[in-house]
């Protein structure tokens, strides 16, 4: 149980700067999820916390202790590796017992912890098998189990669910979340999958090129993304982006449609100097319209009925967009349909750096 503090962390591999400069605080008992595209430095950051990589600059604190020079073995951290990293010469049970036994924990206690973890992860049937005889998903769960039994100060998970099927993934996801609540341990979870991020995290850290883009609760990063990257990364299907030019009383889309913008939003827009901006609208904030100001007509390309709602894909000025519609309203491919924006819940990003204007 411990907080984690990173101050001015810089990490280079030779000439390649992976983390240019990073500050981040993670509270005790917090469940934090790192998301970001492949290669953005998520694993590297986890490995730095675990003590498997040295930083070039900056300070890392676990609890109140500066741990820059503390070897991995003495940090009391459990980590689930992206590639599982099971001990191939040991049975599943041995894999899980290894860290506990080497610390001299009484056998009864070891057994109890293993039994509990095995139950949660549904791995009891193959406790006496070697990793070689397990499927990818089973190995992944064993790796999770090996971390779970440890009761460490901090849990680090590097994409631990990527190899599970959808049902098991949802199950284990809930279990991890429940586990974090019962264990009350700081957890850092890395994933590509923003659904995972949204559902599990107390706070989400969105990374790009080794830089923190935004830190916030799931709701917050969803509703108030700080820039276009975050807006595009969080949410599924992703936010629709329309390039737009500023004009009197609002924005003008590439096809000439005028989107009226008023009130506080207009004021925010006026404070910016760029002529070109990007209008960001989530699929659920595209409304069916009969006509009138700020509406545009498109041809539906693809319809995906999800049951709870219907996704409706269309092309607009050369790029693909998607709207989330009420399933009660039947749509079919090829249909001409008219949309307008829920401007109160839309965002505008500055043309240059992609910062959120509102």
């Amino acid at each position: 149980m411990a907080s984690i503090r990173m101050k001015g962390i810089v990490k280079k591999f030779g000439d390649l700067t992976v983390i240019p400069r990073l500050d981040l605080e993670i509270q005790d008992k917090e469940f934090v999820v790192f998301v970001g595209p492949s290669g953005c430095g998520k694993s590297t950051l986890l490995r730095i916390i675990a003590g498997l990589e040295k930083v070039n600059e900056g300070d890392l604190y676990i609890g109140d202790e500066r741990v820059n020079d503390l070897p991995a073995a003495r940090r009391d951290i459990a980590m689930v590796f992206q590639d599982y990293a099971l001990y191939p010469h040991m049975t599943v049970r041995k894999n899980m017992a290894f860290a506990l036994e080497r610390r001299g924990m009484p056998k009864a206690e070891v057994d109890a912890r293993i039994r509990r973890a095995a139950e949660i992860l549904h791995i009891e049937p193959y406790m006496d098998r070697k990793p070689k005889a397990l499927s990818g998903g089973q190995r992944q769960r064993v790796a999770m189990g090996r971390a779970m039994v440890r009761n460490p100060k901090v849990f680090l998970f590097d994409e631990p669910l990527s190899n599970l099927d959808a049902k098991l993934r949802a199950e284990v996801r809930t279990e991890i979340k429940a586990l974090s609540q019962t264990l009350q341990t700081t957890m850092i979870f890395v994933t590509h999958d923003q659904v995972e991020a949204m559902t599990m995290a107390d706070r989400i850290v969105i990374l790009k090129d080794g830089m923190v883009q935004q830190v916030g609760g799931p709701e917050e990063v969803y509703r108030n993304p700080v820039n276009q990257f975050v807006a595009g990364f969080i949410g599924s299907p992703t936010m629709n982006f329309f390039t737009a030019a500023r004009c009197d009383g609002g924005l003008r889309l590439a096809d000439g449609t005028k989107v009226p913008i008023g009130g506080k939003q207009a004021a925010a827009l006026d404070r910016r100097s760029e002529a070109q901006v990007v209008l960001g609208v989530r699929p659920e904030h595209l409304r069916l319209a009969q006509g009138g100001d700020g509406s545009f007509e498109v041809t539906v390309n693809v319809v995906e009925p999800l049951g709870s709602d219907t996704l409706c894909y269309f092309d607009f000025e050369g790029s693909r967009h998607v709207a989330r519609l009420d399933p009660e309203r039947p749509v079919h491919a090829g249909e001409r349909i008219r949309f307008s924006f829920d401007t109160a819940r839309s965002h505008v990003f500055a043309g240059g750096d992609g910062r959120c204007v509102f």
């Binding site: 490995r47 675990a50 003590g51 498997l52 070897p71 991995a72 073995a73 003495r74 940090r75 009391d76 951290i77 459990a78 980590m79 590796f81 992206q82 590639d83 599982y84 990293a85 099971l86 001990y87 191939p88 010469h89 290894f98 860290a99 080497r102 610390r103 070697k130 990793p131 070689k132 005889a133 397990l134 990818g136 190995r139 090996r146 440890r150 190899n163």
Partner: protein, 270 residues
């Protein structure tokens, strides 16, 4: 290349192996059981009653038994010493990816043994170690250690790094990682390298010529002397050679069973 040519080359290669390797071995073993008069007879006699005269002569006229013991002590000792330093050496080389120390040992192994003779003779004499087992075991570590390092190295390189890091995170210090995680994963390599080291050390005679005395002389060095002593003992020499060849031949069969092995499987995603 045409099929026929490939077949002809295969046949040629087979012939070469038979003529150069198998034939002398068979000849050696067969001769060792011939009565002494027939050993050097030409044309060689193919039908004879096998006798143990040569072996009897070998053990009665020379301290062959004690040479055998010397060989075993020195070979086993130098193999163990090689393992003691070579295995951690290979692990450290693989882990740190710093190669030059391993390369230096390899260079030492590649250098002609004669290079070491004079300096070692002086060194070991200074410490009064000439004729001792310890001098020979130390000297033969130059044979065994590079073999062990370089055979083990690719095995260690094949151990997924994340498995070792897992052990680190689980609280292991480095010697523990080697002993409890890495070593069990490279057991085939350990067997192969020990056997190769054993055989190379067993067969090496140059160091024994100057670093041993009568009481620590190895089998191979002793039989080398037989040749020098003239043609009288051909039968006994064949018997000696046969005995010397037995351990390496047995080990060669053992080693090939271990050469192909996939213990690492299943550790990572794969």
């Amino acid at each position: 290349m045409s099929e026929t040519w490939i077949r002809r080359l295969n046949a040629f290669q087979l012939l070469l192996v038979i003529a150069l390797i198998l034939l002398p071995i068979v000849w050696m073993v067969v001769s060792s059981f011939k009565p002494s008069a027939q050993v050097t007879a030409y044309p060689p006699t193919l039908i004879f009653t096998p006798v143990l005269d040569n072996y009897r002569q070998l053990f009665s006229t020379t301290p062959f038994g004690s040479y055998l013991v010397n060989s075993i002590v020195i070979t086993v000792g130098s193999t163990l010493l090689g393992l003691l330093f070579g295995v951690p050496g290979a692990f450290a080389t693989s882990w740190s990816r710093v190669n030059w120390p391993a390369t230096v040992t390899l260079a030492a192994r590649m250098a002609p043994g004669a290079l070491f003779l004079l300096p070692w003779y002086i060194m070991f004499r200074t410490f009064g170690m000439i004729g001792s087992y310890s001098a020979m075991i130390l000297a033969h570590a130059v044979i065994t250690m590079p073999v062990i390092i370089w055979v083990m190295l690719p095995y260690f390189d094949n151990v997924p790094r994340s498995v070792l890091e897992s052990a680190q995170v689980d609280g292991c210090h480095v010697p523990e990682i080697l002993w409890r995680i890495a070593l069990p994963m490279v057991l085939p390599g350990l067997v192969v390298s020990s056997i190769l080291a054993f055989v190379f050390s067993w067969n090496y005679f140059l160091f024994a010529l100057i670093l041993t005395n009568q009481s620590t002389k190895t089998l191979i060095a002793a039989s080398f002397n037989f040749i020098g002593e003239g043609a009288t003992y051909w039968g006994a020499l064949m018997a000696a050679a046969t005995i010397i060849a037995i351990p390496p031949i047995i080990l060669a069969f053992v080693v090939q069973r271990w050469l192909v092995s996939g213990l690492v499987m299943g550790a990572v995603k794969g």
